[in-house]
């Protein structure tokens, strides 16, 4: 099977997200601080969305979310929807469309984590009245930790300096 360099690179890039999912399940508990776990999956997934765009991010998020839904006790489909919407939103900042600076990328990761957790909370039938406290007490510390990891990850994968003019 002959694959051109771009296709091979896309496939390789897509393989990172399931790997991050496996790392999230296995490694994340061991690097938790005071019970706060970072989301390795979100960090890699947001990077993927920046690189690949919205369409691959939606489907990648959907598949990874479905895997999480299968093994988590919350409402089925909640992770899939949360990740797909996060991927769609982050994918709007696709590298080919616009240049996103390094600090902004890290900030987008934090916001995407909060958005993901908010959607998951709502779709899992936990109720809107507890959404605020959930975001502040549970989601925000995890988002900050994820941003730290994301800052390291993004430093190794810097954004392209010039966006193509589509």
């Amino acid at each position: 099977m002959n694959l051109n360099a771009e296709t091979r690179y896309t496939l390789l890039r897509a393989a990172y997200v399931p790997l991050a999912l496996a790392a999230q399940v296995t490694l994340a508990p061991s690097i938790s601080i005071l019970g706060i776990q970072p989301s390795l999956l979100m960090a890699v997934f947001v990077l993927f969305a920046f690189r690949a765009g919205a369409l691959p991010a939606i489907w990648m998020g959907f598949v990874c979310g479905l895997i999480l839904d299968t093994y988590s006790p919350g409402g089925a489909g909640s992770f899939a929807l949360a990740m797909a919407i996060s991927g769609f939103l982050v994918g709007q900042l696709h590298e080919r469309r616009m240049h996103v600076s390094y600090p902004l990328r890290v900030s987008v990761l934090g916001i995407a984590t909060l958005v993901h957790d908010g959607i998951w909370h709502c779709v899992s039938h936990h109720g809107l009245d507890t959404l605020g406290s959930f975001l502040i007490r549970v989601s925000l510390p995890g988002a900050l930790y994820t941003m730290i990891l994301g800052a390291i990850l993004f430093a190794f994968r810097p954004p392209r300096i010039q966006a193509r003019n589509w």
Binding site: P18, L21, A22, V25, T26, L27, S30, A54, L55, I58, W59, F62, G65, L66, I67, D69, T70, Y71, G75, A76, G77, S78, A80, L81, A84, I85, F88, G91, V123, S124, H125, W166
Partner: protein
């Protein structure tokens, strides 16, 4: 051309919106199902579609846990080995002290316990380094002994360490006598390869005799065990004889030793005088 590009981007955007709508509708439909249906859906997904992924993740997790456990076991093993080494060291020191207890009562001067920390690993003789020095009162010319016999003498001392001349050093000479006949001889080592005794042809020193220190010179007190005559060599001149001595304290096994804190001022006196002299601390006038 620009219009075509714009249309292409709109089409791409349309696919994105369509995808998110489809995904959103499916997920909302799934989450609105009753709990038993969701459970059935989970079970069927886990046992069919995600089974390979589950197996891979499970293997990965098992491998990770195993690695972690192996790492912890290795660390624990290293800690236990270190602890065992420390306890063995303590046991060894205790054995040395117990062995030395019988000799201690015969000595009239205080002792300083020390350890050989450096020596020539190939040659018997030479200068050895002890891990205590002037801070423990160790000074030049003091005798170094072990529970089995004499080992050497202190050549130089500094704060925290001292240099010791072993019996097998070519420059070391010790006056000894046969414990049986009380006939004297000089212990020496011509080339550092072993310990020998030089004595007159008229001296009554025989094979198997035990040798003890004579006390002359004031470095080694009288009566400390030295070794046993292992082989007598006859010389052509028939004036002096040489005999090979097997030291009671094997020089290769020496580790923990004791320094006899005999004042340097008594070093030049004869043994008879040393026996009756009052002990003076090092540095006293």
């Amino acid at each position: 051309m620009l219009i075509l590009r714009w249309l292409a981007s709109q089409a791409l955007k349309g696919r994105e919106i369509l995808s998110i709508l489809v995904v959103g509708a499916f997920c909302l439909w799934l989450s609105s199902r009753p709990d038993p249906i969701q459970k059935t859906w989970r079970t069927s997904f886990a046992t069919t579609v995600f089974l390979p992924i589950q197996l891979v993740v499970e293997r990965f997790k098992i491998r990770w846990d195993l690695q972690k456990e192996i790492g912890e076991t290795k660390a624990e093993n290293a800690r236990l080995i270190a602890e065992n080494a420390a306890l063995s060291e303590i046991a060894e020191i205790r054995t040395t002290l117990q062995e030395f207890e019988s000799m201690r009562s015969r000595l009239e001067f205080p002792l300083a316990g020390t350890r050989v920390i450096s020596r020539d690993p190939v040659r018997l003789g030479g200068v050895w380094l002890l891990d205590e020095g002037k801070n423990k009162g160790i000074d030049e010319g003091m005798a170094v002994i072990s529970s089995k016999g004499i080992v050497g003498r202190v050549m130089a001392s500094s704060h925290g360490f001292a240099q010791m001349q072993s019996l097998a050093d070519p420059d070391c000479r010790v006056a000894v006598v046969s414990a049986r006949s009380r006939n004297p001889g000089i212990l020496h080592s011509p080339d550092g390869s072993g310990v020998f005794i030089e004595f007159s042809v008229t001296s009554d020193i025989r094979l198997g005799d035990s040798l003890v220190t004579w006390g002359a010179g004031g470095i080694f007190p009288r009566g400390l065990p030295v070794g046993r005559v292992a082989e007598i060599r006859k010389e052509a001149t028939n004036i002096l004889r040489h005999a090979r001595v097997e030291p009671f304290q094997d020089p290769w096994e020496v580790r923990d030793v004791f320094v006899l804190l005999r004042p340097p001022s008594l070093r030049v006196m004869a043994d008879d005088l040393i026996g009756s002299a009052k002990y003076l601390p090092a540095g006293s006038p």
